[in-house]
Symmetry: C2
Subunit: 261 residues, 2 copies
Amino acid sequence: MNPAHPATPAAQAGEAAARPGAGASLGQRISDALAQRIVDGEWGPDQRLPVERELAERFGCTRITLREALQQLEAEGRVYRENRRGWFASPPRIRYDPTSIAGFMRYVAEQGRTPRTELLEAVRSGDGLALARRLQLPDAGAEVFVLRRRRWIDRRAVLLETNILRASWAPTLLEHDLAGSLSRVLTGTLGLHLARSRLSIHPASLDPAQAALLQSTVGTPCLRLRRVNYDDAGQVVELDVESWRHDALAVTVEVTAPSAA
Amino acid sequence: MNPAHPATPAAQAGEAAARPGAGASLGQRISDALAQRIVDGEWGPDQRLPVERELAERFGCTRITLREALQQLEAEGRVYRENRRGWFASPPRIRYDPTSIAGFMRYVAEQGRTPRTELLEAVRSGDGLALARRLQLPDAGAEVFVLRRRRWIDRRAVLLETNILRASWAPTLLEHDLAGSLSRVLTGTLGLHLARSRLSIHPASLDPAQAALLQSTVGTPCLRLRRVNYDDAGQVVELDVESWRHDALAVTVEVTAPSAA
DNA sequence: GAGTGGTCTAGACCACCGA
DNA sequence: CGGTGGTCTAGACCACTCC
């Protein structure tokens, strides 16, 4: 069971393979054809595709079949949709290293794109917040700040973020500008320090409220990042939940000496 | 713009919110109803749901509408499908920390599940492999080993993995057992050492070949992890591409001193 | 107000799984 | 070989966007 002779390694390495195109379903072939046109640059980044009925006619199929093809491309991250506005070609993914200090505003700009942050809500809450409890804040009664922000890349809302911070840790937080870099406010202006972070990443989908805020539709796949931040005393001081449009992001992590115990 | 008074924080923190259930589309309401039954334990982990036609009749809708509801649940990671075999309730996600030394076999077992690894292919290749070139192996002519493996959790194939290793780095690789932990062979038996890793994670979808190997359907969303491993001299010695069923995995990362420059 | 995407119906045929 | 999921058709209505 060790065929150690040269052979064609099945032409694929866990990546999208060259698609034969034949033998596949109609929806699949239409999806391939559209993908090719996108690669060829027929529709540039963030540019709108023709209306569904026209594409369906062009490919000689039903709208349902055409939409199946588009949903296929959506899953691949090649196109995205805006609710009732149409389908658009996806721009390149933003690379994001959660272990680095750089915040959203900075790394988006560094990759030649235009970031924007919108503060949706900033409140102080002292009641036994269901949120904090569910997110494992140890003492459910502690006062917290809750920030909700929507972040944009170029013309498109790509990210919803909720921060929950222990109020006693950053008492003057709400007096500062929260539409920019939160980490700059915390570590810069307020001189605070985080000792440790625990990050969790998993695919999920947008609920109705999120979909509305991202101009998207319910059930659109997304990537969910959850972070728990600890201070030097090992106490939880911040929780962070991010929901990204799934085609907008590639998480990268640098690991040094991964085999060192 | 700083409403610093107690208020209800919109009842959601970037997580799935309590779903109102009213006002939503039929497919959405059916999806919610099914989700509730799954939570209630009507169908346990890896257990098959009733056939589509029966569910459609039970909910008084078309099969198309029912399938839309199921695809919604699939995107959320609550159910998965096996090609032409039906829909199944998803078991809990496996938590996986790519920065740790533990390999697949170990962390799956540690979480009370049953791991299995299947070697699909193990070849030595010396030609300017398109793969290696596309994956940025610096000297395209270098001899490499290509491993392709399929990995299971309990009764279900969840992961396709391709490893490309510089042959000169681990010359005797193919003589060892490759159906278990690769890292154990490399760092244990062969005494090799990795200095640095660069990991990239992004949502994607399964191509036809992958779908077939995972008993899945083309276009099923997946999570793609790509890793480039360097030795002490800073040379690329291994490439790793993993395609996970997207409901099977939650990537976790421990970061120490995230704000240290 | 025209036209778009979102949703839904009522069928149908086929490929494949499993008995 | 029966039943399943996968695929596709030919419509229809509605809510919403955009002009």
